[in-house]
Symmetry: D2
Subunit: 379 residues, 4 copies
Amino acid sequence: MRQQLGWGLIGGGKGSQIGGAHRIAARLDDLFQLRAGALDVDAGKARSFGAEIGIAEDRAYGSWQDMLAGEPSRGDRIDLVTVATPNATHFEISRAFLEAGFHVLCEKPMTMTVEEALALQQIARDCGRLLAVNFGYSGYPMVRQAKAMVENGDLGRVRLVMAEFAHGFHADAADADNPRLRWRYDPAEAGVSSVLADAGIHALHMIGFVTGQTIDRLSAEFHSHVEGRELEDDALLSLAYSGGARARLWTSAIAVGQMHGLNIRIFGEKGGLAWRQEQPNQLAWTPLNGRSELLERGGNGLYPPAADGSRIAVGHPEGLLVAFANLYRDIHTAINAGTIAPDALAASLVPSADDGVEMVRAVHAAACSAAGDGAWIDI
Amino acid sequence: MRQQLGWGLIGGGKGSQIGGAHRIAARLDDLFQLRAGALDVDAGKARSFGAEIGIAEDRAYGSWQDMLAGEPSRGDRIDLVTVATPNATHFEISRAFLEAGFHVLCEKPMTMTVEEALALQQIARDCGRLLAVNFGYSGYPMVRQAKAMVENGDLGRVRLVMAEFAHGFHADAADADNPRLRWRYDPAEAGVSSVLADAGIHALHMIGFVTGQTIDRLSAEFHSHVEGRELEDDALLSLAYSGGARARLWTSAIAVGQMHGLNIRIFGEKGGLAWRQEQPNQLAWTPLNGRSELLERGGNGLYPPAADGSRIAVGHPEGLLVAFANLYRDIHTAINAGTIAPDALAASLVPSADDGVEMVRAVHAAACSAAGDGAWIDI
Amino acid sequence: MRQQLGWGLIGGGKGSQIGGAHRIAARLDDLFQLRAGALDVDAGKARSFGAEIGIAEDRAYGSWQDMLAGEPSRGDRIDLVTVATPNATHFEISRAFLEAGFHVLCEKPMTMTVEEALALQQIARDCGRLLAVNFGYSGYPMVRQAKAMVENGDLGRVRLVMAEFAHGFHADAADADNPRLRWRYDPAEAGVSSVLADAGIHALHMIGFVTGQTIDRLSAEFHSHVEGRELEDDALLSLAYSGGARARLWTSAIAVGQMHGLNIRIFGEKGGLAWRQEQPNQLAWTPLNGRSELLERGGNGLYPPAADGSRIAVGHPEGLLVAFANLYRDIHTAINAGTIAPDALAASLVPSADDGVEMVRAVHAAACSAAGDGAWIDI
Amino acid sequence: MRQQLGWGLIGGGKGSQIGGAHRIAARLDDLFQLRAGALDVDAGKARSFGAEIGIAEDRAYGSWQDMLAGEPSRGDRIDLVTVATPNATHFEISRAFLEAGFHVLCEKPMTMTVEEALALQQIARDCGRLLAVNFGYSGYPMVRQAKAMVENGDLGRVRLVMAEFAHGFHADAADADNPRLRWRYDPAEAGVSSVLADAGIHALHMIGFVTGQTIDRLSAEFHSHVEGRELEDDALLSLAYSGGARARLWTSAIAVGQMHGLNIRIFGEKGGLAWRQEQPNQLAWTPLNGRSELLERGGNGLYPPAADGSRIAVGHPEGLLVAFANLYRDIHTAINAGTIAPDALAASLVPSADDGVEMVRAVHAAACSAAGDGAWIDI
């Protein structure tokens, strides 16, 4: 029998999509109990929405500071905090809760700067607390199957990864001044990168997740196709990895007709894989000189990390919420097992502070390369 | 703010897929709280698994009879019971809980005989309780979009529906004596039909759900392709509907290469629709003399029943668990609004006792027709 | 080196799609030389169009009767005649040319009545001439791969075939009186069947082609969804085959959104196949308890009948014209080898008079069954 | 009535795939008559294969020099020569035939060096002869539809094109020394580029064909994933176009699981397009803020360049051979109309010497950029 852990959520207020996704995913397997929240920057809204979703009145906090003050001394204090606030606040909030002894799952990007990322990584280490980052697409069973196939040598040495995360929802020039969009392209609010830091980062994480390699060097170009944008709405990266793999990443917000196009193809000496996030239950596998096969989530013959990640049988589609739930389940396991140090976490399927640091580094290096006409930057 | 309702589950014990799906779906939106269960025929297992998933000790009952005895007098008594037990027990258990004043969501098929189905329908009416049947695939947003398009006249008069629900998981003759399969083809345990009552019934329900029409007459043929089976592992139905639509339904358990192949195509005077359960987030729409379009769950321009059924944005796939959650959400709404009489329910999106009766009738009529060389049977 | 044969075409005049397809297909491999034609019922148009496409003036005949008079005595007389005239003339023209010593490729359906079909079959036998019928979709390499896989036992005994040939181009009630369509639903011109005899017949032939079995019995229902039509615009057949296979065939002209939807799925004891005419270069294969594979035309590991049917390498799509060319190539081979008697032809890949007879029988039996409320009819 | 032109083929001998494709394509519409050939470097094979495919004995030449000597003085001399010989001979042969007054269709790449390309372009101009280059994929109707949609402003200004042409047929390290492959990666035989000059060049041409823009600048990286290769088996290009569009091109020979993966996506201000060569009869179109549509070759509402390029009706797939035939048909039209000067040709759908020059320039610039760590090179 698995023990429920107490869980708290910061951010993710009423109408927030990511907040709703976290609440569903964290509770999907009965492993976490939502006990506390600071769900909105508006204290009143934070309290009323907390009550609305069943949080006890005294734990539906009006701010994360109140939550930080109120939780530590409780006997039934929460174990894990999810930080789903605006990016610029990730560092401060995560640090505070780590230092107060809580485990933290932070939304991506982990921080706004590399220095913050490194500091947060060290704080987690010093505090002996788990620090995970929500690269939640890595929770899809068939992504985990891809990773396991690479680890098991089915592809031989990985030569090349082609990754993309493209959508077209910021393509409308007439909509560019919409406040909902504008801040995303304002360096004062969004930092050094827009679409790469927001969407492409997931594909970038997935390259490392599947190959088990880290980024050595990269070159990038950024473009702003819609007039008036300071930050990029389209980017291309070329990357060299620690194990010799090369990769290319395209990410875009102006690709009309792409929905939530996170796709990855992995080419090795002995075979190739292809996966598309919008049809996540299938993974195409072609062994060298062989026939293409379609592997199905829930089907026979999958490796344990894929087989373990299914809730329902083959042919019954699962979606993103279940992928996120896999991440919460693995965090639950890590906390219970005490395998929460960065090294231990890095050996698990949970995206760790190490991943968070690498991704923040990569985004900054890409911005730097793009500003320097595509010069190669060491990570 | 929506009030949580108390919920109990009968059946769906450890390792049960459908039980797990109900537990996830019922709680997905925070609308139901699992307070009581009789999860296994083995009293010990029922109690221990109940405790394992967080049910209070005194409400983790050893049998549904105990649950029936224990719940009614409690102040925090449950509101809704889900009956996910073997088919032959649906009638008795559902009746008992309806008569004790609980609302009931019963797994399909509602009952083993038409007489029981009619009786149960009447009991729900007499007791003023909700009786719904888990034709859960009708909860998919794009199925609801199809229904709404028909209702809004986008297709004109529906002429023809081609439906199928085929899989290949009972195709292996060498596996036919496996107890896990054998009972499904034994009339003593499964009744008059195997694959139609088990799988095809979902596609059959979907025809009526989408068209808004009821079955007038049908003709059927049943086959047992694997030797030794008394009940059908493959069936073909032809149907005439109340509004003039014709339909054909193919269902099979020996269709190797089909996974969970619930597909429906609807052809009207003014356009055609196609939907596939394994890629449920898309609906293909071709207006007469026009270009084919691909409608996306979560996308712009969907009718309210489809738009309301999404949890996450377009391009982020949702799966079966969210479809089931839509059903639970609509049951919650019906209970709160008091629109629980069969007529009221039939006007909602919730599969009602009327649907349950019609489907049981249809299965029996099909078996009768198949035994009579395909003679047409009035429903 | 392969010797060119002389070829003549009757029907298929200016603007005819099928005529153009025959002219391209017959010449694709340099195996036939178009030397004579009677391309139009209008003598003037026949002559001028013949000249336009390079037929010598004296062999661009004004009528098939002139062609029949002119060709036999020539030293360079044609070897093969393709009959692509209205269905009601197939019998008379084919008989005349067979009796004059020519080989004949007749468009489908071979004749309007079973009696004519049998007579023509006998005439070909008596004259020692080849009589083939253009079930040209059997020329697709991946259809031939499916046939070879069945023959080689890869599927084990075939249990069930699901076939369909549906389109939506006759769905518009406002267009029903268009002369281009109206004759197709007029028994005086089209005979006993419309969409089955025109489109469904190809799918019906393919069932027999792939399984190697002949029809024992069938049951059918016909519908006319567009008001005023005497003949069916939609049909469903259930069939029992000589080797124990069952099959179902759906054909329709009112299925808006279906283009030229000839699809076939074959389910055997040891695996299942699926093929779609609109994407003809792929064949999906799922071995029992195994993973789904995608076989590619031109790829490795295909059986000879499939491998031989490709003109260009894997990944370069081939379409219908190449399928038709395969049929012409095989007719060329049969003529050169002298394997032209019905039995010899039936053992080849060329659709023979036997196929022609069986299909005409089946269409008539289906019309009879449909008129008799779906009664089973022996073939 | 359209007049046949005389046609000759150099290269494309027995067993050659591209030769067979040209012979089928050139004759598909009865517009060209194969009258002369020098089909093999081996004089004996050239003569015997010429005879085998129906070329008169005296015009089945033993060498292109013999053909050059024999044809000009004939009354029935050929009009067009197709040059399908090894790349290094394109320049010399094309020059000789242009100077002798023949029109020339040259295989890609047009020449080995930029200097040769410019010289050949000038020679065609000086001689007043047509010089076309076989970027035959531009003959696909739906590619022409894409071009027409851009021209007609349906997409608004084009922002970004993502193109790729990837296969995996050179991925096997164990096969790298196979003479069939080895020469392709040997600079002495293949020049400055392997997979880009061989495969990627088609995708590169298509970007310009569809957008109507020419390359301003590019940056490239080349990789040799299989040990021992001097030339690239994988490349990534980033490009800036004359009209402001950006593009990226990935080409690869080590992408196991990709067959003949020529894909293109075009993103404009007002919509996006996607086309895949392996399913060439469909074009996906998403208008900004609208629903995705699937345009079908042969369907209603296509622009003339697409509508004119079909031989058979919607739903009957056409493949690469018909695309090539469109190119031959357009060359026929250009010759008959006298619109053969480079400028005139550039305004047509026929890939011209201008295209040939631009592509050779681009390949050399890419090789140069790749050698210079991705530096941007002006074209």
